[in-house]
Symmetry: C2
Subunit: 216 residues, 2 copies
């Protein structure tokens, strides 16, 4: 019953009319969460803390993000664009080249050049089990999208699944290597190297006998 009739907190800078609330609620929540996670860790910060720092309520936090983890992955729809690149490529392109092409293009657009920033984010994710799970889920969503794109191109289900999974692996391994390295190797370069490494490791043997039966 006690409605405080909130006026927007001190309006230091505003142009035009004043809304009842400051805009950018979602972005404010993301920033506040990132700060608090860096300061005291993910598990130790509560949703009320995040909302409080953003000048909002707990309920509003959950209106913008499905759960506490999601605030770190909220602006990640862009990852699905890799699948779009594959779907829109010329229909006769080689699948493997398609994948490395989409991945390197995506890297050049969104990742390349901001290694420090991404490294900080990855550090937070690595620090918490739940966040690692969510990260895997996001990766899997992209893999699913890639698989569908490849399937629509006429590839058989198993092939599409294997290629999609491989692309997710390639992205993940290359990203980790890129973040761990101190020199200025380009992410795209690491990706090409990774793909080549897999090719040689896999192609070295044309699948002879049913492999040494190593049963205990």
């Amino acid at each position: 019953m006690v409605c405080h009739h909130f006026m927007p907190r001190d309006a230091v800078t505003y142009h035009g009319r004043m809304s009842r609330w400051q805009p950018d609620a979602r972005e404010r929540l993301e920033r506040a969460a990132l700060e608090l996670f860096a300061e005291q860790g993910f598990a130790a910060t509560t949703v009320p803390q995040i909302a409080g720092r953003a000048g909002l309520t707990t309920r509003t936090f959950f209106r913008h993000f499905a759960d506490k983890r999601e605030v770190l992955f909220g602006s990640d729809e862009m990852f699905l664009q890799a699948a779009v690149l594959i779907a829109e490529a010329p229909p006769d392109a080689d699948p493997a080249a398609l994948i490395t092409g989409a991945l390197t293009a995506f890297a050049a657009t969104h990742l390349e050049g901001r290694r420090a920033e991404i490294r900080r984010r990855q550090e937070i994710i690595r620090s918490d089990e739940g966040l690692r799970e969510r990260n895997l889920r996001k990766r899997d969503a992209v893999s699913d999208a890639v698989r569908d794109a490849l399937t629509r191109r006429g590839l058989p289900a198993v092939t599409a699944g294997m290629l999609a999974g491989t692309s997710a692996t390639l992205f993940s391994v290359a990203l980790q290597e890129w973040l761990d390295s101190d020199d200025d190797r380009t992410l795209a370069g690491i990706m090409l190297d990774g793909m080549q490494a897999l090719r040689t490791a896999l192609g070295s043997v044309p699948a002879p006998a049913p492999a040494a039966t190593q049963r205990p």
Copy 2:
């Protein structure tokens, strides 16, 4: 302050001395959870319900499982045995054959022949977002173990990472195909097919020019 001095519920069958509590608490919890999940879905069943059906308390449930999801993955340490197979193989074996060998051996030991049972479990997992996440996390743990095993064999980091990720993908894709199919194809066969499909999809082109630059 009200301790009920619980004696074990009706001891219909028991041999030897009677403990204060029935044994197999963990197994009882797993069975009760599986039943309830099948009856009313994962999200709709609460931990108190599970514990109640098992004749235990909520607190005891969380002594055996870290969270509600884990009750479905509790007896999965066996998956790590795939990594052991790889680590113990002769040091000069081919990495790719090593992976398919370990995977098919594992499948033959634990999966092959109980498709219906595994299908029921997978159905529950597929029905809930949180369970899918946890499933991915388990898969990733195996992948990590495989990567370490390959690294200890002297493979470079990127190659080990790519091969480990590929093995996880292969397992996942093959398992899904196996569960979806009605005929009696063997899981090991599907795995070999999947590996071959990836090989041809990847090896078909020796990486010519830097791939058609498909930048929007």
